[in-house]
């Protein structure tokens, strides 16, 4: 049996728990340790991804106890998202080394690194677990570490934003646990594959529908679909920038992954009528998120609302439920992770160097910080969805899938969302390049330090590569999407 599967979860969790101890030996060692832990996790994830590409999904029974008694880890095509998690997590940690000097309270560095690693481990666990209760536990590992990470941010807003985030997050977690309890009471099993085969939505009637509704509401709140998004802008805008990148790129996607897992459990009878609801919810979210973003002055709040809009695309693609739309949604989950981390890290570098947060104050920063602004521009073009960047293939296939399913209205919404995104991101580019500076600090500012610049530029490069080589992840996701749609 392959030992890589438990390693991918255990390495960051154990590494994170040890981080404060390592920190006693020195800050340099701590940074090397965190990066080494992320690298090991990334290599294990790469190894598993190659295996799943060759042979299809596989399981690992923990402790050797077989399903349904034992707890199993299961690696399928969607679990390969761990690869993106380690990439973005590693770059965010590299970036945070310098950022932390000004952005964190004294002595906060070891705890920051520990929380980031534990957060990563929780996400990896959420992606590979085959057990419903473990799903809940890993979700809580991610959530609790996220609340704490948000609280490390801007001291004026962060504690309150973190508390609001905690309240919304914990309420949705409780709802999900309730649904898991109902599923357990109905089927007597917690193994996802086992629950899926035992659950008969028609015979079980109301309780099964209630469980589905609870899971759906809970996961959509975690994913911040409009109108369940109210906690997101404050939390993502006031967190430290590397944390914003991880939260916006990865943590909200756990809600989407949870939706996919619920779909796998409720395949067939329970899911089909929900497609309509999800598609319309997604469509409203695209427009509403973009609408709010149009009026934001704070750069990071603008990016946060843009996440609401992009989550709308993904949920709409899943709701349309045709082969191409689901493919587009799955692609956009990965590509949006790259794009949004580029944007948040680049914005963080601008804010870190200039000390200004609003578009008005940041005017003219494009000339003073050309490399960071270039990365931000690549991110902006990607998120708008222009070819050949990462935002294009996902949105394109969602629109194609809508036409394919005979729902042109959703294709129109997808295009309109792109136009709105163009409108509000144009304000960012305008401020950076075309308006004269308004703040004297912007004039004398220097380019970001190398340790911040390299992750940002690498991610911008990934945005371009993910657009040009979109066939690669598509071919990889093909079997998983076919299974999901065919169910």
């Amino acid at each position: 049996m392959t030992p890589w599967l438990p390693l991918v979860v255990m390495a960051p969790l154990v590494g994170g728990a040890l981080a404060p101890v390592i920190a006693i030996a020195g800050a340099r060692l701590l940074r090397a340790w965190s990066l080494a832990v992320v690298a090991v996790t990334g290599l294990a994830a790469l190894r598993l991804t190659l295996e799943v590409a060759a042979t299809g999904p596989f399981s690992y029974p923990l402790g050797g106890f077989k399903r349904p008694i034992g707890i199993e880890l299961r690696f399928d095509e969607f679990s390969a998202a761990i690869l993106f998690m380690t990439l973005i997590g590693g770059l965010a940690l590299t970036y945070a080394g310098r950022y932390a000097i000004r952005g964190l309270p004294a002595g906060g560095q070891p705890w920051f690194q520990a929380l980031m690693l534990i957060n990563l481990g929780g996400m990896a666990g959420f992606a590979v677990t085959g057990d419903l209760f473990n799903l809940f536990v890993f979700m809580e590992v991610v959530s609790v570490s996220s609340y704490a990470l948000v609280a490390l941010g801007d001291p004026r807003m962060a504690p309150l934003a973190a508390f609001r985030y905690l309240l919304a997050g914990a309420a949705s977690s409780v709802l999900i646990l309730f649904s898991i309890g109902i599923l357990y009471a109905l089927t007597g099993s917690l193994n996802m594959a086992d629950v899926a085969s035992r659950l008969d939505v028609e015979a079980d009637g109301m309780p099964a529908i209630l469980a589905l509704a609870g899971l759906l509401t809970g996961f959509l709140l975690k994913a911040a679909l409009f109108p369940l998004h109210t906690w997101l802008p404050d939390a993502h805008a006031s967190a430290p920038s590397p944390v914003s990148a991880v939260l916006s790129a990865l943590v909200v996607k756990l809600g989407i992954l949870g939706l996919l897992r619920s779909w796998q459990i409720f395949a067939g009878a329970g899911w089909a009528p929900l497609g309509e609801l999800l598609a319309w919810g997604g469509a409203v979210s695209i427009v509403a998120g973009a609408g709010f973003a149009l009026f934001q002055q704070d750069l990071k709040r603008l990016l946060a609302y843009s996440t609401v809009s992009n989550i709308g695309y993904i949920v709409m693609g899943l709701g349309i439920a045709s082969q191409q739309a689901v493919m587009g949604a799955s692609l956009h989950v990965l590509n949006h992770a790259l794009i949004k981390s580029t944007l948040f890290l680049a914005a963080g570098a601008l804010i870190h160097q200039t000390g200004c947060r609003t578009l008005y104050e940041l005017r003219g920063a494009g000339r003073a910080m050309p490399a960071t602004s270039l990365a931000l521009t690549v991110g902006v073009i990607s998120v708008v969805g222009l070819p050949p960047t990462a935002g294009f293939p996902g949105k394109w296939y969602i629109a194609l899938g809508a036409l394919d399913a005979g729902r042109p209205v959703f294709a129109v919404v997808a295009a309109a969302g792109g136009l709105l995104a163009f409108a509000y991101y144009m304000r960012v580019l305008n401020a950076l390049y075309f308006w004269p500076p308004t703040h004297e600090r912007v004039l004398g500012v220097r380019e970001a330090p190398v340790s911040m610049l390299v992750p940002v530029l690498l991610l911008a490069l990934c945005c371009l590569a993910a657009g040009v080589f979109a066939r690669l992840p598509m071919a990889f996701l093909e079997p998983a999407v076919s299974r999901l749609v065919g169910m």
Binding site: Y147, F163, A170, A171, F178, Y184
Partner: protein, 119 residues
Amino acid sequence: MTEVDALLQNIDYAAAVILFCIGLYVVVAKGNLIKKLLGLNIMETAVFAFIVTSGMVDGGHAPIVTEAATPPFASPLPHALVLTGIVVAVSITALALALIVEVYRRYGTIEADELRETD
């Protein structure tokens, strides 16, 4: 009378749902951050009660293997789940209380409507 009978038979489930709704109401409607947190704890307790009762069997014994043990047995799994759930709930409560202390230091109030004015 079948609905009433069904309700009486599942009175424990109904109680859990009612408790859950009370907790949700407190989280949404109350302005004090501590009260919101208490509402959250009520919701969590409701879910734990629901999961524990789902393991009950009429006339069931504790599932401990002794010579005197006779079936039927109650299911032990939900208890183990709830134990983990309680640990999670405690950690969330601790973190939330710490955040409330920090909010109070910063703004001098923990009433949601007064906090909105200071934004």
